[in-house]
């Protein structure tokens, strides 16, 4: 963008242009925090207020030093989060691979769709927490069970969206492939995947949120391994309410970042479709 020579950054002008985007969220969030703090201070609820993150000494330490590692389970929150994230990455990747693969198959075949769609619709309704006991029975081990819970929670949007994307390939594109007598493989790479990509990404984006949501459920089943879910669970067992609040803040922030990341990927890869 061309700027007139001599005109530097003008704070006043910038503020004038952007204040209607800056002021409302400040008021909204500030108001919410104030309300929370007041209702906690006035004793309306036993939940500690947001200020407790600072006032509670143990929590303040956790807040200020996310990277410490005293061995065992006594780690900073960042390290807990990284553990959780790697677990989510594993479960989510599995879900993506299987979801896209099965989604394409179901999208291409009416018969497969008729056979499995009711099952998928049914399974997708089962809450992450309900999978925990089943996962433990199946795998008998903590780590695979946790990954399974993440996987089974996040696969459905990917699968269903992919199938829909394949079904929604315009007849025109199919006709082009037919008239050109494209091979099956060519059809896959040149038409099916590019055409279904926006749908697949929508599924992936919904699922990353779900996978992250499932982390608490997954880590409840894993006492003794570090992770943000375990951290909250542990704080709960010990009655550290302000620690729980801090954990929740971390989970929300990470979830937001993951979602933004997927949205960015989507605009980069599947733009303009």
């Amino acid at each position: 963008m061309a700027t007139a020579p001599g005109s530097g950054f003008n704070l006043g002008v910038c503020w004038k242009h952007n204040r209607k985007f800056i002021l409302p969220p400040i008021f909204g969030i500030g108001g919410f925090l104030l309300f929370w703090q007041l209702s906690s201070s006035l004793g309306l609820t036993k939940l500690t207020g947001p200020l407790s993150l600072w006032t509670d000494e143990r929590t303040r330490e956790l807040l200020l030093y996310p990277f410490f590692d005293r061995g065992g389970l006594d780690k900073g929150l960042f390290l807990h989060t990284m553990n959780s994230l790697s677990r989510v990455a594993l479960g989510y990747s599995l879900a993506a691979i299987l979801g896209i693969g099965v989604g394409i198959a179901v999208g291409l075949s009416q018969t497969l769709n008729r056979a499995f769609d009711p099952l998928f619709q049914f399974l997708r309704m089962v809450a992450p927490l309900a999978w925990v006991p089943i996962a433990l029975v199946i795998f008998q081990q903590n780590q695979p069970a946790a990954i399974f819970v993440i996987f089974i929670t996040s696969i459905w949007p990917i699968l269903i969206n992919t199938a829909e994307g394949v079904r929604q390939i315009p007849q025109d594109y199919r006709n082009v492939a037919l008239v050109l007598q494209m091979s099956r493989q060519k059809f896959f790479t040149k038409i099916l995947i590019p055409s279904a990509l926006p749908y697949i990404f929508t599924g992936l984006r919904i699922s990353i949120g779900l996978a992250w949501l499932a982390i608490i459920a997954a880590e409840i089943v894993m006492p003794g391994t570090p992770g943000i879910g375990f951290f909250i669970w542990d704080a709960n067992q010990n009655g550290y309410v302000s620690d729980i609040v801090l954990g929740v803040v971390w989970i929300g922030a990470i979830g937001l970042i993951l979602d933004r990341l997927m949205a960015w990927l989507q605009t980069r890869i599947a733009a303009g479709r």
Partner: protein
């Protein structure tokens, strides 16, 4: 002749419906396409034209019959029959170049990379898109996208190019440019192409032949038009070709006809019997002419209602052909028709099976005239002798005279008048069938040199200065039958009392029309949009146009009077001889039976008697036209042979079967 590149043979297409049953989309389609030909498929939405295209493309398979491409049955789509789809079908994630390259790479794997690239570049340049080659399709306008689609199709060198409404979504300017581009490419590469379109002008501009499809269900080919406009064609110049407007109006007539049939089918068609009549809801066809006055009067003055016909609809057709088709497909119950039409249709002159038509009433006599273009008067043409000399002097130029229908008195009188004046109506001039309302426009722009038609068109040409009356019908045959009431014979037998009631209502209306005191009122009535839709002063019933010194002093159009309304076998026999003389029909060996069946004299007599008009009886003696040659009804064939100019006519038995009532 070269064998056809595509042969569509007796193709039938059924679509299964949800909830069982089948929808019959196409039925009995036969079409052969020669190499290098450009064919358009035209028809209303849902007529199956895209389905037919898809079957030629192999994207869809016929339920019955076969489609052959170079002698081989089309079983699946392939690059040899490339389709340009309506919505372009470009892949949005690829650039223009990549889209075309995708097709070329797929279809021409034997070429080297650089050869393929050259093909791609050549076709991008062909459609003038070099500047946009790197853009994705979504950044292009509709016209540019369609150019990419055409380039992609042509790049793989198909034997057959199939276009499904290629320009349907484009604005008029872009469409025109692309049409020219496509035409140019087709000419240069001698492409064979089939195009589906809605656009009549586009079809005429681009095609060698236009295939018109009827409405579904069970669409079939309703007609094929050859476009005889030479190539290369220019979009702005083809409109000046003499065939352009007749082709265009032919297609529009066809499409309107299809629409009317569809509307007719959409309405419930119960036969309403009431007041002792078998049917009181009638659709009555007419075309806008002064001679339709009895129908307008019967409607406006309540004569239909008076005779129990409660629900009569007057259906305005634009040409006599609409009347013929309406009777053939039974969308009309009865119609005002030229007096030659019953004989013509009964003898099969319309080109399909002979369809017996009955007339019980002659509605009008006279009212016609022959008009020549003003520019002939400027060159000294005053009389028929001048005209003959003029034709001799300018015998290299085509001289076109308009008639409204081969079976109309206009055609027969014009031909009789010309040939009696030693002008051969088939050699010295060219007679062209036009709807009456179009004649004046054609005279004005010089595409015809004159016409024979009913009022008000002679009067209007004279008043507006585009033509002048060379002769009035009174000077050719005063009192000749003009328009008659015609119904199908099977209709007349199924609804005999209705037929009598209709005849009564119209006979009474004729009496009303004949009173000079009513003529101003008639002019006003007919000027309404439902009838003629023109200024009342242009519609006159008094003296013939341009003849201030009318030699006969008669009122021009006769609607009622002694010998005016009763159907006359002698007159219809004379008409049969004239139709045979000009080879419109063979002369029927069984003419006595035919005349007996055409003229429902008993219906007329009953109607007249019930109206208390017994005195309106048959008074006519022999027929004699202006040349003084008497008509000998005892030996019609000898009469034709005695006439100086006639074509090689044939004599044949016309198979009209036994009279049978219509089953509703």
């Amino acid at each position: 002749m070269t064998p056809p590149i595509v042969a569509v043979q007796d193709v039938v297409k059924n679509f299964p419906l949800q909830g069982g049953g089948n929808y019959l989309a196409l039925k009995g389609i036969d079409l052969e396409i020669r190499k290098g030909e450009f064919i358009s498929l035209i028809g209303h939405s849902g007529c199956g034209k895209s389905t037919l295209l898809n079957m030629i493309a192999g994207l869809d398979l016929p339920t019955g019959g076969t489609v052959l491409l170079e002698g081989e049955s089309v079983k699946r789509p392939g690059p040899d029959k490339m389709v340009v789809f309506q919505n372009y079908s470009l892949l949005p994630w690829l650039t223009v170049r990549e889209n075309i390259a995708l097709a070329v790479d797929e279809v021409m794997p034997d070429l080297s990379r650089s050869e393929r690239d050259a093909v791609v570049e050549e076709h991008i340049a062909m459609v003038g898109l070099a500047h946009a080659a790197e853009k994705p399709p979504l950044q292009l306008s509709g016209g540019m996208r369609q150019r990419v689609a055409i380039a992609r199709a042509l790049a793989i060198r198909p034997k057959l190019l199939l276009l499904d409404e290629p320009f349907g979504a484009l604005d008029a300017l872009t469409r025109g440019n692309l049409q020219e581009k496509l035409m140019q490419i087709c000419n240069e590469h001698e492409l064979t192409a089939v195009m589906v379109t809605h656009d009549v002008d586009e079809a005429v501009l681009l095609s060698d032949r236009i295939v018109m499809l009827t409405n579904g269900p069970g669409s079939k080919i309703g007609g094929i038009l050859e476009v005889d406009i030479p190539r290369p064609r220019q979009r702005l110049e083809v409109v000046h070709h003499p065939s352009y407007y007749s082709l265009r109006s032919e297609i529009i007539y066809f499409l309107n006809r299809q629409k009317r049939v569809k509307q007719w089918q959409a309405k419930p068609h119960k036969v309403l019997a009431r007041h002792g009549l078998e049917k009181v809801n009638l659709d009555l066809g007419f075309i806008p002419l002064a001679a339709c006055a009895p129908l307008a009067v019967a409607e406006a003055k309540g004569f239909f209602r008076k005779h129990g016909l409660d629900e009569v609809q007057l259906v305005r057709e634009t040409s006599w052909r609409g009347v013929t088709d309406g009777l053939l497909d039974r969308t009309l119950d009865a119609a005002l028709m030229p007096s030659g039409m019953p004989a013509w249709m009964t003898a099969g002159g319309h080109g399909s099976d002979p369809t017996p038509i009955v007339t019980a009433l002659t509605l009008s006599r006279n009212g016609n005239g022959i008009t020549l273009a003003r520019r002939l008067a400027d060159q000294g043409v005053r009389s028929v002798a001048d005209y003959r000399d003029y034709l001799l002097r300018n015998n290299r130029e085509p001289h076109t005279l308009g008639i409204v229908h081969p079976a109309s008195m206009h055609n027969l009188l014009l031909r009789y008048w010309l040939s009696s004046n030693a002008i051969d109506p088939d050699r010295d001039v060219h007679l062209q069938t036009l709807p009456p309302a179009q004649m004046l426009a054609d005279l004005k722009d010089g595409s015809i040199d004159g016409y024979c038609v009913g009022e008000p068109w002679n009067n209007r040409a004279d008043r507006e200065g585009h033509g002048f009356p060379i002769v009035g019908d009174l000077e050719i045959w005063s009192g000749h039958p003009g328009k008659v009431l015609g119904v199908r014979e099977d209709w007349a037998l199924a609804y005999p009392n209705t037929h009598i009631a209709l005849t009564k209502a119209l006979l009474e209306a004729c009496r009303y029309c004949a009173d000079p005191a009513h003529w101003d009122e008639l002019s006003q009535l007919l000027s309404d949009r439902r009838y003629l839709g023109m200024k009342p002063e242009l519609i006159r019933f008094g003296t013939p146009s341009g003849c201030a010194e009318n030699p006969h002093g008669d009122p021009h159009t006769l609607f009622f009077g002694p010998g005016v309304n009763r159907p006359s076998r002698t007159e219809h026999l004379w008409i049969l001889t004239q139709l045979a003389r000009w080879s419109e029909i063979p002369f029927p060996r069984n003419y006595v039976e035919i005349l007996e069946r055409i003229c429902a004299v008993s219906v007329y007599s009953t109607a007249a008697r019930e109206l208390g008009l017994d005195d309106v009886s048959y008074q006519r003696t022999g027929i004699e036209l202006f040349d003084g040659v008497p008509f000998n009804g005892d030996d019609p064939i000898a009469y034709i042979n005695s006439l100086s100019i006639h074509q090689d006519f044939s004599v044949a038995e016309i198979p009209i079967g036994v009279p049978r009532a219509m089953v509703s």
